[in-house]
Chain length 196, copies 2
């Protein structure tokens, strides 16, 4: 184990010997570190968002895309469908989202943002950007942009395909409120009324 690590992030990449097959050349290593770093810091930054980073992502998706089912949302975000139920429960409890029936398919609950949801998202976004900047502090502004774009591109490519299989695992670790068992949700009466 080689002793001292560079104190200057700029030296970091320069010190990586890409021919030595060391841990720093392992994609899995850097992905894990970045991801866990993001989860940890992100959880703090969006602590007031039910569901933490995952709840935040739900808000992002539903405020920028067409209303859709919980299941599709789960796929889109790479979140387990069961966990998605609980995340939306939490968001709904805080009046940040509303579940509405899909008129064309009564199995589906569409997820809609409330005004409060929009507002919280705005502040949460700012907080997260700060965290992200810190996380990528070792990179220049250009490099940060580049990393964002490459990651997104990779995620949208084969990466995302593999990741967004049905009922995928999710490891964003902010605690979702523990489910209260035997808590079958009452069927909203207004929903039954809107039967076509």
């Amino acid at each position: 184990m080689h002793a001292s690590l560079p104190t200057s992030p700029t030296d970091a990449a320069a010190q990586i010997d890409w021919t030595a097959n060391g841990i720093e050349t392992e994609l899995g290593w850097s992905l894990a570190l970045m991801f866990h770093g993001y989860s940890r810091a992100g959880s703090v930054a969006v602590a007031d968002v039910p569901g933490g980073p995952r709840g935040y992502q739900v808000l992002v998706a539903i405020t920028t895309e067409e209303p859709t089912s919980q299941l599709a949302l789960a796929h889109r975000l790479g979140i387990d469908k069961t966990a998605m139920t609980y995340i939306i429960d939490a968001l709904e409890t805080d009046a940040l989202v509303e579940r509405r029936p899909d008129l064309r398919d009564r199995r589906i609950r569409q997820v809609h943002p409330t005004e409060a949801g929009h507002a919280l998202l705005r502040t949460a976004r700012v907080a997260l950007r700060t965290v992200e900047d810190a996380l990528m502090g070792g990179l220049s502004a250009d490099e940060q942009t580049q990393l964002r774009q490459l990651l997104a591109k990779a995620a949208l490519g084969t990466g995302a395909t593999a990741a967004s299989l049905p009922d995928t695992n999710s490891d964003l670790n902010l605690p979702v409120p523990a489910p209260e068992r035997s808590r079958r949700r009452p069927q909203p009466t207004t929903e039954t009324e809107t039967r076509p």
Copy 2:
């Protein structure tokens, strides 16, 4: 919700509207998808490595760096120290690593690779590279290299600082090598007696 992903990876980045604040522009989203994709596919690829991807990373680190303590290794890899114990247990059970006492500090167990460990690592590495190529299939070869390097650089920079807090109040700056404390001279012949 436009759920369908582009079939041509080349179109992916072209379709991302970086001004719309959609989910695809979220670093947390792409990080999560990539990380989970890696974990899932990587677990399959290194299924015969005890501890999966994490066990693999242990092998990488101990075969390329100086012998060090489990704790330092845990920090280096961003793994919880308790989990590290179990991972090494598993690796040791399969005779892929050996724990040896550190002559200068009898609390420390250094982790050494065996020949079998080296051999398994070689095949595991090949399998993982295949997985990684698939994961980054949406990127050109240059882009893949770029992503690897940027991620590593970010991980080694501030990112890693935030990530390497597996041990609660660890104030350490990145996984630290074995402490450079003023070491006492080795205790003669105490070695065999300290074996647990």
